[in-house]
Assembly symmetry: C2
Homo-oligomer: 288 residues x 2
């Protein structure tokens, strides 16, 4: 293969792989590089553009650390994360939606009906639902990892004024499959736009907004894990989520509840006599 | 676009771009993301595979710094760098070949006929040629940025025992267009395989070897810059360069010269009476 050319370099790449390479690796990497080469040829990529691309990924690497995941964000705004979610979603269960770069592991236990709102100001929101299988049977012992932004639109890892696990909680369902918690109404917010991904958004004339949402990772023995988000139907960014996360079945309605109707089974620090909103959203898992 | 699906997400991505986006950015990024989506759908990319990909680029970011360019290396071993070289080469000039991750700017001036070998042991090699235009006319005032590994197969930036600019020199041609220098015979070497790119090579059953070569970046007013390498025809890795850099017109022959024939016009520190090898290779630039 001394005479590598534009026309045979993809074949040369595939030919370099050994005979006993993992077949799935051969398939995935072979497809990726075939598309990468096709892209470069399709647009006649210049050296200057290649250099810009290298500079971009190097910058993304530089800004990344334990808490800042610029490559996840890149995948999100390019629609790759959502595409992977959709490829792997089963229509009979709740749709997957982007994990995003702000999930952190080790969230503290939150009892069913527990309070995530804590000291934070904002409209009180009660969320509950049943974790169930595709036949409607509640799943006992499912873990529901919940997280969202504070009322200022920042996740705890972005905000020095929050504790590490503010607005993060891990709930385990009982025999009734129920999850439930008190929080503040989620707000729309911008993805981080002070790095190279922000530069791309600006160059593309795109805004960095996401509609407000609650994040869930739901796991139960014998079921496929579910990573998802739920969105209120009246959010102004519902139709233009910058990370393409909204699916029809993930849109919910807030019930507006009058003052004095705060129900039993929910905790709340501070006064409990004001009006609040409530969301009921069941999470359907598919058997493995 | 609330109902983003596998089938319309590429269209949604393209539709998010503003009306006054730079048309070339729209073309390049549109093609890149279209291929990225097509790849994910073609292989039904799983979440676990997506996570491996994210982990890979994060690791590549972590290992990168001013002197270690893991993303350039990734582009090299995937054949993207060579493909960009070939897309942008003009058949009437010398072929381009990979810049690689070891070029450093600021190389010290090296007079025509100057000595890059310095204190290093190894077979003496004299290299010379004419920088010329496609009509064969020599180009005066061309700069030839030259670099190679030391006899241990390491570039200066990889090797604490070398000075910053060991085996790096910047030559400027006179009216005769001639470049010329004394060095040691280049050796085959391995690309860095202690990082994530090395993990890919191993997983693919690929070796990390490159055939021996001399690197050149040639620049002259009114001409397209040329980034290239030249390779000896007897190198064992000529047909299996791990970065796909070899082109037919970049292969040269060593002339084996007897002791006592060391020519005028070349400098050499130390003894000049032993046998040496010589390479003549002209570098042809294309007008802009």
């Amino acid at each position: 293969m001394r005479t590598v050319t534009k026309d045979n370099i993809t074949e040369a790449f595939l030919g370099y792989m050994g005979d006993d390479v993992n077949p799935r690796l051969r398939e995935v990497l072979g497809s990726l590089v075939t598309h990468l080469h096709a892209f470069a040829k399709e647009v006649n990529l210049t050296h200057a553009e290649w250099e810009k691309g290298i500079e971009f990924v190097e910058k993304a690497g530089e800004i990344s650390d334990e808490e800042r995941h610029e490559f996840v964000l890149l995948s999100d705004v390019m629609g790759l994360s959502s595409l992977v979610d959709m490829i792997n979603s089963k229509p009979e269960g709740t749709s997957s939606s982007v994990l995003g770069p702000f999930h952190i592991s080790g969230a503290p236990p939150l009892e069913v009906g527990g309070d995530m709102k804590d000291r934070f100001e904002g409209p009180v929101c009660l969320a509950e639902g049943i974790v169930k299988d595709t036949n409607g049977n509640p799943i006992e012992g499912a873990t529901v990892d919940i997280w969202q932004t504070a009322p200022n639109g920042l996740y705890s890892s972005q905000d020095p004024d929050q504790d590490t696990y503010s607005f993060h909680g891990l709930q385990t369902t009982g025999a009734d499959g129920r999850y439930a918690f008190t929080t503040v109404k989620p707000v729309e917010y911008t993805v981080p736009s002070d790095g190279p991904v922000g530069d791309i958004l600006r160059a593309c004339g795109r805004h960095p907004w996401r509609p407000s949402h609650l994040h869930f990772v739901v796991k139960a023995d014998g079921f496929r894990s579910l990573v998802t988000e739920v969105f209120p139907e009246d959010d102004p960014y519902l139709d233009q989520d910058t990370v393409f996360g909204v699916r029809e079945d993930l849109v919910m309605q807030y019930q507006h509840m009058p003052a004095g109707s705060f129900p039993e089974g929910f905790a709340l620090s501070g006064k409990v006599d004001e009006a609040f909103i409530k969301v009921d959203f069941d999470l359907v898992l598919v058997r493995e």
